[in-house]
Symmetry: C2
Subunit: 206 residues, 2 copies
């Protein structure tokens, strides 16, 4: 076996581990986290279970590595692209979020549920990811020119609470829409999402 | 034993079961669902575990009975009281929802998590309860005079999706506030909640 594994030998252990994590993230698109076993990864990667345990230690650690990477991907894919008004940038981010959830539905929903369902380390990764996504809104440098000002965001505990609620709104609406997109067009969904934060913040200005 | 149990003998089995469910709901105020065992109920009710298994069959069935009752209580306690404008009635319902979550925090959070965390029967009760709570908004007779019209609600799939998202918004904001109410006053919380649905629906009118 080992003599036929030349490509593996040329790759550093770190790079090989990265590659396996990426493969895991890809598998999560159509699988729940519970369905993503070391056995499935071994088969897809064409390596032995033993090697995977060598890289990850346990299924649990493997899952956490995959979820951390997926959270980073989501953060990167929804980053403001730097063009247009703050509202346009926000809409672009929301659009890429919708596409991400639609393309990774099974895994995404299982993550949300796992994080809610009492798995502490999953919850921590999930909470950090959600904080990072909304934190951008309060960081003008991070979300385009004067995003905070033009979206009407004052950085107060009350506004932060509303924005946290808004992220739950977006997640619920997008997951439900992806589950059954028949009755609402994608354009209508995006319009509703784009209007939601300004609508919620209108009450925060007075 | 049985000769000293006169009060129990005078009560019908149905009434006794109801009483035990009510006791369970009360215990859930300060306990998670996982912490609400048949043993705990037996001790609080002063009856044998065997009798509780007779009434409920299993811990699982006991939990479901308690959760169904808690959901009904929440539905009743947040019912519009029939006075004032639709916006005032909505605010009253939201206020009672806040008080309910604050008074039943441990159990409420464990229910939300249990429902998210892959427990199918719990999820069904939770989903039904949430649907019932928002369904009221589309039923003018159920939420005061012309609530739907004066809140600007048109009954479309898109509006229903937004209202579903709004219920996730409210839950997230209220649970987070109850977890740490230090930085936002109750009045500010209620104002933000009261503004949230009209704010989200403003975008649905055009």
């Amino acid at each position: 076996m080992s003599t036929s594994a030349q490509p593996r030998l040329r790759m550093s252990p770190e790079a090989r581990r990265e590659q396996l994590i990426e493969l895991g993230v890809g598998l999560l698109a159509t699988r729940t986290l519970e369905g993503l076993s070391i056995e499935v990864l071994a088969e897809e990667a064409g390596v032995s279970r033993g090697l995977l345990y060598h890289y990850f230690g346990s299924k649990q650690e493997f899952h956490l590595a995959v979820v951390r990477r997926a959270a980073r991907e989501l953060f990167e894919v929804t980053a403001p692209d730097g063009g247009g008004s703050a509202a346009e940038q926000l809409l672009g981010s929301l659009e890429r979020y919708v596409d991400y959830v639609a393309s990774n539905f099974a895994g995404y929903v299982s993550l949300v549920r796992g994080a809610s369902g009492g798995h502490d380390e999953l919850r921590e990764i999930y909470e950090q990811a959600r904080s990072a996504l909304t934190e951008r809104l309060f960081d003008p440098a991070g979300s385009g020119p004067a995003a905070a000002v033009s979206l009407g965001l004052r950085d107060t505990p009350r506004t932060r609470l509303v924005v946290r609620g808004w992220s739950a709104f977006v997640e619920e609406v997008v997951v439900e829409w992806c589950r059954d997109p028949r009755d609402v067009t994608r354009a209508d969904l995006l319009e509703a999402l784009g209007d939601s934060l300004p609508g919620l913040l209108a009450g925060e200005r007075h």
